[in-house]
């Protein structure tokens, strides 16, 4: 099946998957706690609780509530976020942009470092560089993110004062417009080097923290794949033809070793999104993860439902992209078969 046909087919079944997802999300939202828990106080009388229930349509039957919610979703109304005291759709783009910016920055750290180190180690199997890389990689996988984050903060924020926390210096952030919500991109669009530097400066610590764990996984996968590929006959053939070792590695072995690694990278993006909850809390990063954690702790069901629905969609899209990239890298893969 051609890639284009495959994409069309996947996109066409997306609505069915989304309806199923929305039903699950709505059901979980209703059984997972009181939908108005965030607004309730002990001192409230039953009449006052009833007023709030009426305001949020909770007096209707469950099917009516579902269709009202789903209708709102279709109209782009995901409800009202209690924890942020604003409509979800007013907040979500900014929060999403912040999380994606962090996740992409972390992915850049993880992919560039992971592939480089994996290649470095794979080409030097069972030698000292390989062992050191293994130590680095296993440490990354084993180190709890929250602990690593705090260590980095103690060193680079408190003691050295090199890097700040948060997403920006408020004065600099407010000095430019934010058409995309992605601070680095907006700074470039505004032509403000000061803002761009501010954005990068604030990104480094959380991106390194979040990227470190993913680096470890990518490094190990890349190293193993490359080691296998270097034992393949086609590599010997390339060497026999007199191809320089550098070209054997880059043009032949590494390209093939990337195929399983890309799958891991796709899954790793999910890891980055999940890990961003902890990193966003510790680095005071105003993204989706921190918002969600706050919503869960305070019982803000509208936010939880919006988040779960949204990330479900995101994962569907990312999975689709990974499949397509996979097929592009390995022409032997037949999509949809």
């Amino acid at each position: 099946m051609q890639i284009r046909e495959y994409i069309i087919r996947r996109v066409m079944i997306l609505p069915l998957i989304l309806v199923g997802t929305s039903l699950i999300v709505f059901t979980l939202g209703r059984v997972g706690g009181n939908p108005i828990a965030i607004y309730l106080e002990h001192e409230m009388t039953p009449d006052e609780v009833a007023q709030i229930e009426e305001r949020y349509g909770l007096n209707d039957s469950l099917p009516e509530q579902y269709f009202a919610w789903a209708g709102g979703v279709l109209r782009g109304d995901l409800g009202y976020s209690g924890v942020l005291a604003a409509p979800v759709m007013d907040v979500l783009p900014k929060r999403l942009a912040a999380t994606l910016e962090l996740s992409v920055a972390s992915a850049i750290v993880a992919v560039s470092l992971g592939i480089a180190l994996g290649t470095f180690a794979g080409a030097r199997r069972n030698r000292l560089p390989d062992h050191l890389t293994r130590v680095f990689a296993i440490s990354g996988a084993a180190t709890p993110i929250f602990w690593f984050a705090i260590v980095l903060l103690i060193i680079f924020w408190v003691n050295l004062g090199w890097f700040p926390v948060g997403r920006s210096e408020p004065e600099i952030f407010e000095s430019i417009s934010h058409p995309t919500g992605v601070y680095t991109l907006d700074a470039l669009l505004a032509g403000s080097f000061t803002a761009f530097r501010d954005a990068i400066w604030h990104l480094i610590l959380p991106a390194v923290t979040l990227g470190y764990g993913a680096t470890a996984i990518i490094t190990r996968m890349m190293r193993s794949s490359l080691a296998e590929e270097l034992n393949e006959d086609y590599v010997d053939a390339a060497r026999a033809k007199g191809l320089p070792e550098r070209l054997v590695l880059r043009r032949h072995a590494r390209r093939n070793a990337l195929i399983p690694t890309v799958t891991v990278i796709g899954l790793g993006f999910g890891f980055l999104l999940q890990g961003s909850v902890v990193v966003e809390i510790i680095f005071i990063w105003p993204g989706m993860g921190r918002w969600m954690a706050d919503a869960v702790l305070r019982g803000d069901q509208a936010t939880i439902m919006a988040y779960v629905l949204f990330t479900s969609i995101l994962f569907l899209v990312v999975n689709l992209v990974v499949d397509v990239v996979y097929a592009y890298l390995d022409r032997r893969v037949v999509l949809g078969s």
Partner: protein, 590 residues
């Protein structure tokens, strides 16, 4: 080619080793120096032991640690908070909610609680009404507030007595269930305007009206023009504009509210009183560790402080811990006199009438290890509370009776009540983390070490689960732990926590256990309406003795008012009677 590859590997190997070594060196070298370089603020608290009112004129910081030469964020006061508001509308904010502190800084009220304690100072009223100055009628029902002239709101409109009336009437008309308008509705019979005076007539005399109602967030004065231009007043419906924006007359305007990130307050140049010196940024920092690190880094000027992490910041360079006065919100262990056995958690064996017997309630009070809680849970930053008046409140006296750990007396009471040999098992509901969970564990340790037949299960749950269970009627646990709401006057405290038909008296059915419920109710009601302070003191002290013999709560202790701040902050003070974090930023400089 292989040679190039090897060069590449050596270079990167060296680079990695260099980076790792520098990280290790930095980690090992720095932190210890800050721990030892400055005297401990809590071991040498001489500056902060002065009264809060003194702190407003003489910086509390200068003698505990030398001010740093470099001030971070000049011109802006940065406070790290742990909670974001749900609403900024005085009519829509719940008592104790994070929006209250923004309302405190950006709106004015007719009278204000001063920085030095419970004393009232004029606000938008030029005088604090008293019987002597004619502001309170002889029958104690009518209050007259002369309205200050020359006050402008943030939108440029002018304050008048009519605007004050509009503002109070607005809160009453909106009557939002999540708001606090009921404290007005319960007391106020009518409001009127007489020239430039705002006149309030009460339904009944109330001793706490000025301290607890007129100073509350719901009584803040909003711009009438601002309301009418932004949605007006709709009964039962929140005002979207005022939920997220501010048009008050306070020393700060709302600069920006980046939800879940920070709130920026700008100095209001046309403020009628002493203008604020610094803009303010309130950062939302939910993690305790990050708040303490930010304070040490100097990026935060003050942080929401909890006794559980005071030891993390004691002695840090450039940091002062303000520990003066007391919070008026002692930790409470609730004893449920309305136990529904079918609703209790699995394993609980206590019967419905378990706490009806005052000997059992007294035995719990004698069994509790107060020293462990104060020294452990509160890190020594607190004390034991008399049963039932907290330190700093009207009628408090050091000689009032208070429970002390007395295991022999606890054993005697449990034996007399018939529980010593049979034992019991029950669950105490607490919010996870922090001092409440510690109090639960101390209760468990106290009772289980007293008698192996006693078993206490501490159900530590997240905030939303606790709030849900805490609001449930009937209550589904035999016991629970939380702090009391802070009240400026004992009338409100006793009404909510002691009155047999009050907020908790009704939920826990105190009438099932009080030896003289009607007598206690009568005393509380008399003290609530009396304008004779001496008589009120007499009543509350009498009640305290009665409640020592017939307690409805175990009071593990009370926290000191505690706030860690950078030593460069001048004029630092806090008042527990102001909404959390109990700060008025307009007083500060750095």
């Amino acid at each position: 080619m292989r040679t190039r590859t090897n060069r590449f590997s050596r270079f990167h190997l060296l680079l990695i080793v260099a980076v790792v070594l520098s990280l290790v060196a930095a980690a090992c070298s720095s932190d210890d120096s800050t721990e030892t370089s400055a005297p401990s603020a809590t071991t040498a608290p001489s500056s902060d032991t002065t009264a809060p009112s003194t702190d407003t004129t003489a910086p509390s910081t200068d003698t505990t640690a030398p001010p740093d030469d470099d001030v971070n964020n000049p011109g802006v006061y940065v406070h790290a908070a742990d909670d974001d508001p749900l609403s900024l509308d005085p009519a829509g904010v719940a008592a104790g909610e994070a929006g209250e502190t923004i309302i405190l800084q950006t709106y004015d009220r007719l009278v204000e609680i001063g920085p030095g304690g419970p004393d009232l100072i004029p606000g938008l009223s030029t005088a604090v009404p008293t019987v002597e100055n004619g502001g309170i009628s002889a029958d104690g029902l009518t209050y007259t507030f002369p309205i200050r002239e020359g006050v402008t709101f943030h939108d440029g409109s002018t304050l008048t007595a009519d605007v004050v009336k509009f503002s109070w009437d607005r809160a009453l008309e909106m009557d939002l269930p999540e708001g606090n308008s009921s404290i007005l509705a319960d007391l106020v019979d009518s409001t009127s305007v007489d020239g430039n005076n705002f006149v309030v007539t009460l339904k009944d005399r109330n001793a706490a009206f000025l301290n607890s109602v007129v100073t509350a967030a719901v009584a803040s004065i909003v711009s009438q023009e601002g309301v009418e231009a932004n949605g007006g007043v709709v009964a039962g419906q929140p005002n979207e504009f005022f939920s997220s924006d501010v048009i008050g007359s306070g020393p700060y305007t709302l600069g920006a509210w980046n939800r879940g990130e920070n709130i920026q307050l700008d100095v209001f140049d046309d403020y009628w009183g002493e203008p604020a010196k610094l803009d303010v940024r309130i950062e939302q920092v939910p993690d305790d560790d990050v708040r303490t690190l930010g304070l040490r880094a100097g990026d935060f000027d003050s942080i929401e402080t909890d006794p559980t992490f005071v030891t993390d910041i004691e002695g840090a360079e450039g940091v002062t811990i303000f520990a003066e006065g007391w919070l008026l919100e002692p930790v409470h262990i609730g004893l449920n006199l309305d136990i529904r056995e079918d609703l209790l958690p699995d394993g609980d064996t206590v019967p419905a009438d378990f706490f009806h017997d005052p000997r059992v309630r007294r035995a719990f009070n004698y069994a509790f290890n107060y020293d462990n809680f104060v020294e452990g849970g509160l890190s020594g930053q607190g004390g034991v509370v008399p049963h039932y008046l907290p330190q700093g409140m009207l009628a408090y006296d050091d000689s009032l009776p208070r429970f002390e750990t007395d295991l022999a007396e606890a054993e005697r009471l449990f034996t007399e009540a018939g529980w010593w040999d049979d034992g019991f098992e029950m669950t105490v509901l607490v919010e996870e983390g922090g001092i409440f969970e510690v109090a639960g564990l101390v209760l468990k340790d106290s009772l289980e070490s007293l008698n192996p037949n006693f078993r206490i299960n501490v159900a530590a749950v997240v905030e939303v689960q606790f709030d849900d269970a805490h609001a449930a009627v009937p209550f589904e646990y035999a016991t629970w732990i939380k702090n009391a709401d802070p009240f400026a006057d004992p009338a409100a405290l006793f009404a909510a926590y002691i009155h047999p038909d009050g907020e908790w008296g009704d939920v826990h059915k105190f009438r099932n256990g009080y030896q003289d419920a009607d007598g206690i109710a009568a005393l509380i009601e008399e003290a609530a309406v009396s304008v004779d302070t001496d008589r009120r003191v007499e009543i509350y002290q009498e009640l305290t003795q009665l409640l020592f013999d017939d307690p409805m709560w175990v009071i593990p202790g009370n926290e000191k008012a505690l706030m860690a701040h950078r030593s460069w902050v001048q004029n630092f003070t806090m008042n527990p009677l102001w909404p959390r974090p109990s700060l008025k930023f307009a007083l500060f400089d750095k």
